[in-house]
Structure formats: C-alpha cells, structure tokens
C-alpha cells in the first residue's frame, strides 16, 4: 500500500480539479486531476486509486458510470460524487450504487477535505487534516 492516499479527481470544469488538487495535496494526498472522463477512465484501468472524486453530469459519461466502472475494477475505492444539479433522487441513486458520499456544488473546500479525510482514515491512512489542511476561503470552486 502507498503511504499517501491516491486520489483521482474528475470534473469537466478544469478549475475544480486544479483547486481540489491543491486542497487535497495539502492534507497529504497524491492527486491526479482530469477534465476528460475518457482519459480518467483509462487511468483508472492502469492504476488503483484509493479515492475518486467525480462530477456527475459530464457530457457523454456521467459520474454514476464512473462509479460503476471504478467499483467493478476495485470495490474498495471510495467514490465521492459532486454535482451542481443535486437532487434527492440523484443522491439516493448514487448511494444505492455504492457511492461513499454525495456533495452538492458549490461546496467549501473544507467539505471535500473532510469527506476525503474520513474516507482515507477508513482505508487505514493516517492523515491529520487539522494540521495540514487549513482551509483557504478564496478557494471555493
């Protein structure tokens, strides 16, 4: 097992990936960010990620498909869905399919940081979010 949680961030809005890379990097995660779902899926075929943070609504591939594909290859991966179109039915569907959490956009960086910290700790990583991840309010996606 890697010493740092391996995190993949997928959002067709490139800025989200950039900012989450910064936020999650500060709490000790190794982050790879993608804005193209096909590239991200190819990368998940090559490498086993501990945590995947993915947008739900993205052109021809949606976050639920990403979730299913990631879990088919690696059921232990924690998949966190983020979306600007959050609704109860979508949240329930995501959780039924095995999502770890469902977060509505816009979110505060510390919200994602807390979810990732929780997921990483469940997987056995020792991270100290309070020391490493002071939130920067200017970074809200």
């Amino acid at each position: 097992m890697e010493t740092k949680p391996q995190v993949l961030v997928l959002d067709d809005e490139g800025l989200v990936g950039k900012r989450l890379t910064s936020v999650l990097g500060r709490i000790g995660c190794d982050v790879e960010a993608f804005d193209d779902p096909q590239q991200a899926l190819r990368r998940t075929d090559e490498k086993e990620f501990d945590i995947v943070v993915t947008d739900v609504v993205m052109g021809d591939v949606d976050g639920i498909q990403v979730l299913e594909r990631v879990h088919a290859a690696c059921p232990r991966t924690r998949v966190i869905l983020i979306t600007a179109y959050a609704m109860m039915s979508m949240a329930r569907r995501a959780m039924e399919r095995g999502a770890y959490d469902f977060v509505a956009k816009p979110f505060r960086p510390e919200e994602i940081r807390e979810v990732v910290l929780r997921a990483a700790r469940e997987l056995g990583f020792e991270l100290n979010g309070a020391e490493l991840g002071e939130a920067n309010p200017d970074e809200a996606p």
Partner: protein, 273 residues
C-alpha cells in the same frame, strides 16, 4: 442510518408500528412530546400547537393564518430535533415535513376501509357510523394539509406506503427497518447540509411568524436567507430588522433578502418544506 417519519391513517396500528420501528432501530420515538419541546423553545402553548396540526377547521376555531404560524414552530422544532440525532417521528402529515431530504425516510401506514371501519367501530360507535368516522378523519387531515402546507397529503409524498390489511405488523416493521438501513437512505454531505439549511430557515420563519404575526416563507441556501412575507411594502424594513436580529443568534445565515407580497389575491406559494 436515517431518521424515519411515519404517518398513520386513523384507526390503523400505525402508532404500534412506529414504536416497534424505533425499538428495532434503537432510536428515540418522538410524537406528541415534540409539542412540549416547541412550547419551551417558542413560548407557545403546546395544546395550541397540537390543535394547529391536528384539529380540523371550524367556524369558531383557529384561523388558517394562525395555524400556519404555529405550524412553523412545530416544523422548526422537528427539524432541529432531527439535526441533533436520528429519531423516529410519528405524527400526521409527515409526508409534508422536510421534503426532498434523502436520509429522511417517509412512511405512511394505512389499512383497507373495512379494517379501519372495524377498528373505528368500538364499544361506543355502531358499525353504521364507523365509516363516517373514518371518512371524517381523512377529510380533516386533508383540510389541515391544505391549510398548513398548501397541498394535499398524497401517498406519492411518501417513500413507503404500507397497507396493514396486506401485511402483518412485524412484516411492516421489518420492511421499514430495511429501508431505513439501506444505502439509499444513508446521510450524505448534501442531505445533511439540506437539513441544516432547512432547520435554520424554519427556525427563522417561526420566530418571524410569532414575533410579527405575519405569513412568511423562508429559504436558506449557502448562507443567504430569502424571506417572503405577506405584508405591505412599507413594512419591509421592519421585517428585515427583525430578521437580522433573529438571525444574529442563528448559525448559518450571513445575508438576508426580504420580499413582501402585498396582496391577498397573490398569496405566498406553497413553501419549500
């Protein structure tokens, strides 16, 4: 784990099912005790709150406007209770409370008209009157739903509708417990934030409604409270001042916007519950 909100049709074993669900899930059962909690928090008599939510309209009874104002106190108290810890809440019209929050499971318990009439026909009520008693009870529920929430209380407002004429009581309990423990009803960051926003909105609505005796609707999203009040435009600044004063002691409100609707011909729309 989710909280479970159970409404039962009159003359069914809904209360017994709700108690068994609470026991099976290891959660507190909340029912009429909510009125007492609301009384302490909002300084409104518990019996008035109970009448607002449960007693049918009558010529000399409570006005619709006062009923809606008191209902905010009950709604805010329930929302606060559910943000503190999961619970099983048993009351009428649960389908209308806190709509659209994924980790709140809404259940309606019903039974066939025959079974309900049989239950209604107690020692003091002949069978010939039992059907009228059942129908009157349903009619009252619908009238209260329309007055308080602006909507009918429909089966489609519930995640599960269980007919106790078709299912044994234990089967109903098992079905509800399984649904409450299913992944679909697990709390998410989204659903917890929604509940927190709704709790703050309902708390502010209750305070404004009681304080200013106005019809009001409040939504909170991302720290902004949007207030719609049925009041003359000239009262807008007074409402804003009171809202700011109340919001100062509530967490989660950074900005306030106030819109007044100055016409009884253009009432507030059915609020976001």
């Amino acid at each position: 784990m989710s909280s479970v909100l159970i409404s039962s049709r009159s003359f069914t074993e809904g209360p017994e099912v709700a108690a068994a669900v609470a026991e099976a899930l290891g959660l507190e059962m909340v029912g009429e005790s909510l009125y007492e909690v609301a009384e302490q928090h909002f300084a409104v008599p518990a019996d008035a709150l109970q009448r607002a939510m449960e007693q049918g309209p009558s010529l000399c009874g409570m006005s619709s406007s006062r009923r809606r104002r008191l209902a905010w106190c009950v709604r805010a108290t329930l929302a606060r209770r559910l943000t503190e810890a999961d619970a099983v809440y048993h009351a009428a019209l649960c389908g209308q409370f806190l709509r659209g929050i994924a980790h709140l499971l809404k259940v309606r318990i019903t039974a066939s008209p025959e079974a309900r009439c049989k239950a209604a026909a107690g020692s003091d009520v002949p069978e010939s009157q039992a059907l009228r008693r059942v129908e009157a009870s349903d009619r009252v529920q619908n009238e209260i739903a329309r007055m308080v929430f602006g909507l009918d209380d429909l089966d489609s407002d519930y995640d599960l509708v269980i007919d106790l004429s078709q299912t044994e009581r234990q089967g109903a309990v098992d079905e509800i417990v399984a649904a409450a423990q299913s992944p679909a009803c697990r709390p998410t960051t989204f659903s917890k934030n929604q509940l927190r926003d709704r709790q703050v909105a309902q708390e502010l609505a209750a305070r404004l409604a009681c304080d200013l005796s106005i019809e009001v609707d409040v939504r909170v999203h991302g720290g902004t409270a949007e207030i719609r009040a049925q009041a003359p435009e000239r009262k807008r600044e007074k409402i804003r001042a009171r809202a700011e004063s109340h919001a100062a002691v509530l967490e989660g409100i950074d900005r306030i916007s106030v819109e007044t609707v100055d016409s009884w011909l253009n009432p507030l729309p059915a609020s976001l519950r």
